[in-house]
């Protein structure tokens, strides 16, 4: 298993500003992902955070808006840039452990973001 510390747990931000969310895993993991969950909806994959290289973004998400860093196998950040009220969501980081027959996707506690 893995314990993932995510912070901040919530924030209220002004339009046009940026927020960086941090995610720390207590063990080395091969894959980390960032998800967004808009009110009343399921989880949408934003990107795969690749260690030492640029993240792989899903359709509808771009690096300029959601820059992601992953400097090592235990840490990643997601920045939500130039925020607007439409960015108000829960943001979740996740890490994959035990790839193969015992694989599990663990989640951080989430960041509740409200943009005014």
């Amino acid at each position: 298993s893995a314990v993932i510390s995510q912070k901040p747990s919530r924030d209220i931000c002004q339009r046009g500003t940026s927020l960086t969310i941090q995610c720390q895993v207590d063990s080395q993991v091969t894959m980390m992902f960032w998800y967004r969950q808009q009110p009343g909806q399921s989880l949408t994959l934003i990107a795969t955070a690749n260690q030492g290289s640029e993240a792989t973004y899903e359709s509808g998400f771009v690096i300029d808006k959601f820059p992601i860093s992953r400097p090592n196998l235990t840490f990643s950040t997601l920045t939500v840039s130039n925020m607007s009220p439409e960015d108000s969501s829960i943001y979740l980081c996740s890490a994959l452990t035990g790839p193969g027959t015992n694989e599990k996707l663990f989640f951080g506690s989430g960041t509740q973001l409200s943009v005014l």
Binding site: S42, L45, I90, S94
Partner: protein, 108 residues
């Protein structure tokens, strides 16, 4: 494009009832299918299924995957109010994508 569809979208039952939640998928390179329970912000892991078709069980919960039908079910027997949550199906390929979820409410 890989796709995950869950049904029903929502369900209301009474304590003691048995429920079956469905997940169907379309995928190019299947790796695994995972079930989660979401009560607050972070989903909690329930089961991981592979194409082996082996049923997984944990207490009152069980799940199995049918690789011919490209689907999986999650069963909850003798439901309790604490089972009220959103249940998420997640398809694992080289990335992990989630279905719409099933919102379950168990009434006392």
């Amino acid at each position: 494009e890989d796709k995950v569809v869950q049904s029903p979208l929502s369900l209301v039952v009474h304590e003691g009832d048995t429920v079956t939640l469905n997940c169907s998928y379309e995928v190019t390179n299947f790796r695994s299918l995972l079930w989660y329970k979401q009560e607050k912000k972070a989903p909690t892991f329930l089961f991981m299924l592979t194409s082996s078709g082996i049923e997984k069980k944990s207490g009152r919960l069980s799940s199995i995957l049918d690789k011919k039908e490209l689907s999986s079910i999650l069963n909850i027997t003798a439901t309790q109010t604490g089972d009220s949550a959103i249940y998420l199906c997640c398809l694992g390929t080289y990335k992990y994508i989630f279905g719409t979820g099933t919102r379950l409410k168990v009434l006392a």
